[in-house]
């Protein structure tokens, strides 16, 4: 599926619409003009979340009551209109004008993103890594979202019961009730555990195969593994039984803590570069390449499952990568994803303007895009411009990765 067009209304400083290429799109412009906002709008349209804020209402522009993002997607010449309407108190999703539930809506446009914020996946707490994996699974099967919601609901109910038991002074009276919620928890937890472990296995297989990617980012071999909080406590291949045993054993501890101590909400995803834990021992460069390889692996898993390209967003591409790596990454992504990048470097915009749709962003609007951008210059000037900017590009080489 391809995002062919995006219309924005009341979203941050953005105005108007943009048309896209099915392969590479470059939002180019000075800082604070709204390049990242355009990427964010694409992200929100696909995921109904922002990669910059947990409060979606922050995206509503100051002079608007609500923001509306309208996208036109194309899948084998069938087009579909997607809309996300954000108001201060709610979020409404529509496909072809019809209101949709979140899990039904999410299958329409699959978006992955690479941004500085994404480094939290490597450096932050385990919830960031679980979220990355969960998003990958949702891209494959949106119904997984309902299972996650169900799991979180059970955890919330059980947490409350544990607090009540603790405060009652006679926790034993609550054992049978806790057992009931444990049983609810076990059935959903097993589904979450199975989905996550098999997804991580697919990612690991993909990372082993990702020779190109590894060539782009250096020699590190990156590997990923699912680390259940029950690891070392017994036979994980009998997950439900093991969880059952552990929950029974830890009931007094859970009551004392007043919250659930065991379950997939306590699991982690281990990331190794050259056999060592990236978050602790990896250099900044290794951490960045690990994230890139991981997202590339997610894209490959998606494409091999659905035989169609997802959307990939790379914010501030030159802050992340040097020229050689940008070049390698862009050829690597050709045919694998519909890519949207942002940059403030004219040189990058120029360099890829034959292969990409370049969208010049000024004060939130698309001031020009490639056809215009290209046509304004006469052939001779164009050639001169090209030579000049390529030189300029070499001078302003981005800092190399370690």
């Amino acid at each position: 599926m391809i995002l062919a067009r995006l219309d924005v209304d009341g979203f941050r400083n953005l105005e108007g619409a943009a048309d896209f290429s099915p392969s590479l799109n470059i939002f180019y412009g000075d800082n604070a003009q709204g390049k990242t906002n355009w990427l964010e709008a694409v992200y929100v349209l696909g995921t109904t979340k922002s990669f910059r804020t947990s409060q979606l209402r922050d995206c509503i522009s100051f002079d608007a009551a609500r923001s509306l993002i309208t996208g036109l997607t194309e899948r084998e010449s069938i087009s579909k209109q997607l809309q996300t309407l954000i108001s201060p108190s709610s979020k409404e999703l529509y496909a072809n004008g019809k209101r949709e539930t979140l899990s039904r809506y999410l299958g329409n446009l699959t978006v992955f993103s690479l941004s500085l914020e994404g480094m939290e996946v490597i450096r932050g707490d385990a919830s960031n890594r679980r979220r990355l994996i969960d998003r990958g699974i949702v891209a494959l099967s949106p119904a997984y979202l309902d299972r996650l919601a169900e799991y979180n609901r059970v955890v919330k109910q059980k947490n409350k019961l544990l607090v009540t038991a603790q405060e009652s002074g006679s926790p034993a009276r609550f054992y049978s009730q806790i057992e009931v919620w444990n049983e609810q928890l076990i059935s959903v937890a097993s589904e979450v555990h199975t989905a996550r472990s098999s997804y991580v296995q697919m990612a690991e297989a993909q990372l082993e195969r990702e020779n190109h990617g590894r060539a782009i980012f250096g020699a590190e071999s990156v590997s990923i593994g699912y680390r259940s909080c029950l690891e070392g406590k017994g036979d994980l291949s009998r997950y439900s039984e093991l969880l059952h045993e552990r929950l029974a054993l830890r009931m007094p501890a859970e009551i004392a803590a007043g919250h659930c101590l065991i379950g997939p909400h306590r699991d982690d995803i281990e990331l190794l570069a050259d056999g060592r834990e990236v978050a602790r021992f990896g250099s900044a460069g290794q951490q960045r390449s690990t994230l890139f390889l991981l997202v590339l692996a997610q894209i490959s898993i998606y494409t091999s499952t659905y035989e169609e390209r997802p959307v990939l967003l790379i914010d501030d591409i030159d802050a992340e990568l040097d020229r050689g790596r940008i070049e390698a990454l862009i050829s690597e992504l050709e045919g694998r994803a519909q890519t949207f990048v942002s940059t403030s470097r004219r040189a990058i915009a120029n360099r890829y303007r034959d292969r990409a749709r370049v969208l010049l962003v000024e004060r939130g609007r698309i001031a020009k895009d490639t056809p215009a951008f290209y046509e304004t210059a006469a052939p001779a000037t164009r050639q001169a411009l090209e030579v000049q900017t390529l030189d300029a590009y070499d001078e302003e080489e981005a800092p190399a990765l370690e």
Partner: protein, 199 residues
């Protein structure tokens, strides 16, 4: 709010307490009542007073009724060997609509939900146990909602009732989690009943 005369504000406030009624709907209803004839308003007042005066909970099954025991519990045509357990009186109506079920009912008036402060004591479970100990019941069908809380409640009841040596069954809902029996149609409900399984 000073926009209306005080009695109007009070009416709006009362209407707003009804489920599914927000401020705007409450306003619309209040103004409808203001414009309507005195007779219409009196009929509404009377019907509310009447249900409050005459409708009680059946002392056996806890369903809403105007006679005690209710028509189901007293009914000679009903099969007294089966009791079907539901969360709310409304769910009972859905099951009656299938015209397939001829047994008795038991209404819990809720489902387990620690977040909402609902534990076993808050539900009409004690009465169910008494009924089962002193009657000819052979099977208990657990027809709580197929969502997190309903499943937990069914699970709790099955543990509690197992020692009594009865057949305990759970309705088979092919409907997605998070749903409510209230929205199930007759066909779905009929299937759920016929395909119930022992737990």
């Amino acid at each position: 709010m000073l926009d209306y005369a005080e009695p109007v504000t009070r009416l709006i406030d009362e209407l707003k307490k009804l489920p599914g009624i927000g401020h705007k709907s409450a306003q619309r209803l209040a103004f409808y009542l203001l414009r309507s004839g005195r007779n219409e308003a009196e009929r509404l007042i009377d019907s509310i007073r009447e249900v409050k005066d005459k409708i009680i909970l059946c002392s056996t099954c806890n369903n809403f009724t105007d006679v005690d025991p209710c028509r189901f519990c007293a009914g000679a045509g009903r099969d007294h060997r089966i009791i079907l357990v539901v969360e709310e009186p409304l769910n009972l109506v859905t099951i009656e609509k299938t015209r397939e079920y001829k047994g008795l009912y038991h209404v819990l008036h809720g489902a387990l939900s620690p977040i909402r402060g609902i534990g076993p004591e808050e539900l009409k479970i004690k009465g169910l146990l008494e009924r089962l100990r002193s009657s000819e019941v052979e099977e208990v069908i657990l027809a709580t909602n197929p969502n997190t809380e309903g499943e937990a409640t069914a699970n709790y009841l099955s543990r509690l009732l197992k020692p009594l040596g009865l057949k305990i069954t759970r309705i088979a809902m092919g409907v997605p989690v998070g749903s409510d029996l209230e929205y199930a149609d007759e066909v779905t409900m009929h299937k759920a009943l016929t395909n119930r399984h022992e737990i």
